[in-house]
């Protein structure tokens, strides 16, 4: 038997608050290296809050987040920055810096964190743009291209430093089905080519089933994670009607034939 794959990210007993309001309680899961992990759940369930905690933008109320065994929130600012340099983040709206061209957006992290010369940086920028299908757009400003193209350019920026962990916040939000599909394909390619660990926060079922190796379902009512596992297996085997309802857009209320629900 081969050696078990080590978790890159471990979340232990994590409590999330939004201002004074308890959003999620007792989150516990781990994400293996090279895995595409989906955080799913209805609107307002705390997916984005969880993402903010994972990427270092918001301190959790309680609990731990470990990257390769290192407790992220117990590090000092410098220690956290060091871990954060391993991240690439694709924000829901792209979050491209509007006063920069696409090329400058991608070049900035390279200028800051690599010793590459200007011409080498230019080459990397062109490569990253080509990877997301935007060759020749380096001189364009975000306001001059479509929403889908902005998302892809933001992905090019997110992968500029070849991160080993990439976070996606609602990647398909606001995209037409073809652009959403293209982004899903890009996520799969990133996993295959960069070997990156990928965390996707979404509630788009098509994306969940297309790219997810593993998924956690967060539930607003119980403020907890109610299921974890491969999305297709969850749909086939889950005993929980809440999981089935979510994964079938509410079209199926019951378990597959021959199974009994515990609730």
């Amino acid at each position: 038997m081969g050696e078990a794959i080590k978790p890159v990210i471990e979340v232990r007993n994590l409590d999330l608050d939004y201002e004074d309001y308890a959003v999620m309680r007792g989150l516990d899961f781990s994400i293996k290296k090279g895995e595409i992990f989906i955080v799913m759940g209805g609107s307002g369930c705390g997916k984005s809050t969880l993402l903010k905690v994972l990427i270092g933008l918001k301190e959790p109320a309680r609990g731990e987040v470990l990257y390769d065994g290192v407790n992220f929130w117990q590090q000092d600012e410098e220690g956290r920055q060091k871990i954060m340099r391993r991240f690439g983040v694709l924000y829901q709206g792209g979050a491209l810096w509007s006063s920069f061209t696409l090329g400058e957006n991608i070049a900035l992290p390279l200028q800051l964190y690599t010793g590459l010369s200007a011409s080498q940086i230019q080459e990397v920028v062109e490569l990253k743009l080509a990877l997301v299908g935007l060759s020749g757009y380096a001189g364009f400003y975000p306001s001059e291209i479509s929403g889908g193209m902005c998302k892809r350019a933001a992905l090019a920026r997110a992968i500029a430093l070849d991160p080993d962990i990439i976070f996606f916040d609602e990647p398909s939000a606001g995209l037409d089905p073809l652009s959403a599909r293209m982004l899903d394909d890009l996520i799969l390619q990133l996993k295959d080519t960069l070997g990156a660990t990928i965390v996707v926060v979404t509630h788009e079922l098509a994306s969940i089933f297309a790219v997810g190796d593993s998924a956690a379902l967060l539930d607003t009512e119980s403020k907890s994670m109610i299921a974890i596992g491969n999305p297709k297996e969850l749909l086939a085997n889950s005993n929980d009607p809440r999981v089935i309802r979510f994964l079938t857009r509410g079209e199926r209320q019951a378990a597959p034939a021959g199974k009994e629900f515990t609730r």
């Binding site: 309001y21 307002g44 829901q92 709206g93 491209l96 509007s98 900035l108 800051l112 920026r157």
Partner: protein, 374 residues
């Protein structure tokens, strides 16, 4: 035909509400209180049924009427039968009456007065802490810049300098000339009583160079550039651009705030000098034309009245105001809430806090100058 309600009792305990006419919001709809009043008259009513045989066209006005009536009847334990209602009305009602799980955090009851006072004090305390923290971050960023470690985009810096310098010249010219004219007129009215109108030159010169040039330029820049900084950074906050800087390990203060502070700190003393000159020019024009003072005499009086120390005091004002405007604009922008309303609030707050701070700073500098005899 306007919407109307009429009542009858087909059997004991059953109120039949007849809905006739067109039930449309635009043409007005009766209040459910008419039904409630009828219920109050007959307290043994246990059920309400509807007769819609004479109902004409309808829209959400009818649904709203029924929704509120049903809610009210629920509280009074009166059964409301949906029979007789049009299928569309029934479907909309079913949707509106569906019980949803409460997803939003419950709003607490109104807090007692002392709690509210305590909250305000704590807010003020955290606001002061936030300001000190922000000033500390700006100082660290400047330290990094001086050591050559800060990331600095020269082209962007030049753009900011142009925006808050050259582009503001027309407005600063207009306001400063007018202030010079106003000072000359006010001075002339009083000085005429003593036959000392030529001292208008001293008043205009000293007032403009020592304080007014800097204050007027600062107020213009607070409304123009400070607001623009807050809106720019606020929008970046809303669009998650600031988050993108943070997760990439780039300090937004170093990257966004520092160039803006630096640009205003450089440009404000220059704009102050320019405002001083334009104010004196305004006073000169009005004094030599309307007040008929001798231009050469006016100029000589201005030269002898305005000392170098006045100029330095004015430039120090400009330097301090530059820091205040940039810090207020940038800090409010970074603190902006993620909504369109948040950007408006950040912009307003940036201007208000900058102008208030400018007045306070002027008072402090004037007091210090008085104490040290400058």
């Amino acid at each position: 035909m306007p919407a109307k309600i009429s009542f009858d009792y087909p059997q004991a305990g059953t109120l039949r509400v007849k809905l006739s006419g067109d039930w449309q919001i635009s043409s007005g709809i009766p209040s459910e209180n008419e039904v409630i009043s009828e219920l109050a008259k007959n307290k043994d009513t246990a059920q309400i049924i509807f007769d819609t045989s004479e109902t004409g066209s309808w829209d959400s006005g009818l649904v709203s009427f029924l929704f509120h009536l049903i809610k009210d009847c629920e509280n009074r334990n009166i059964q409301v039968s949906h029979q007789g209602l049009a299928q569309g009305v029934e479907k909309l009602l079913a949707l509106a009456l569906k019980v949803h799980t409460r997803l939003i955090p419950p709003k607490g009851a109104a807090e007692p007065f002392l709690d509210r006072v305590a909250d305000k004090v704590l807010q003020l305390y955290s606001g002061v802490l936030g300001l000190l923290n922000f000033l500390g971050e700006v100082a660290i960023a400047f330290g990094r810049l001086l050591r050559g470690k800060a990331y600095f985009r020269r082209d962007e810096f030049i753009g900011i300098v142009q925006k808050c310098g050259a582009n503001a010249l027309w407005l600063v010219s207009l306001i400063s000339i007018l202030v010079g004219i106003i000072l000359a007129f006010i001075g002339a009215i009083q000085l005429k009583l003593f036959g000392a109108q030529i001292f208008v030159a001293d008043i205009v010169g000293i007032a403009m160079v020592r304080v007014m040039g800097a204050v007027m330029a600062a107020i213009i820049m607070a409304g123009r550039t400070g607001a623009s900084f807050a809106a720019e950074l606020g929008l970046m906050q809303v669009n998650e651009e600031i988050d993108a800087f943070k997760t990439m390990g780039i300090s937004p203060v170093e990257f966004l705030v520092m160039p803006r502070v630096l640009a205003l700190v450089i440009m404000m003393p220059l704009l102050t000098l320019y405002a001083d000159f334009m104010g004196i020019a305004g006073g000169f024009l009005i004094s030599t034309s309307v007040l008929e003072l001798n231009p050469i005499e006016y100029w000589q009086h201005t030269q002898s009245a305005v000392r170098l120390s006045n100029l330095w005091v004015g430039l120090i004002h400009g330097f301090v105001f530059g820091i205040i405007i940039a810090v207020c604009g940038c800090m409010r922008g970074l603190q902006c809430e993620r909504s369109a309303e948040g950007i408006g609030a950040a912009t307003t707050s940036a201007v208000v806090s900058a102008i208030t701070s400018i007045v306070i700073a002027t008072a402090i500098i004037t007091f210090i100058c008085q104490v040290i005899g400058v």
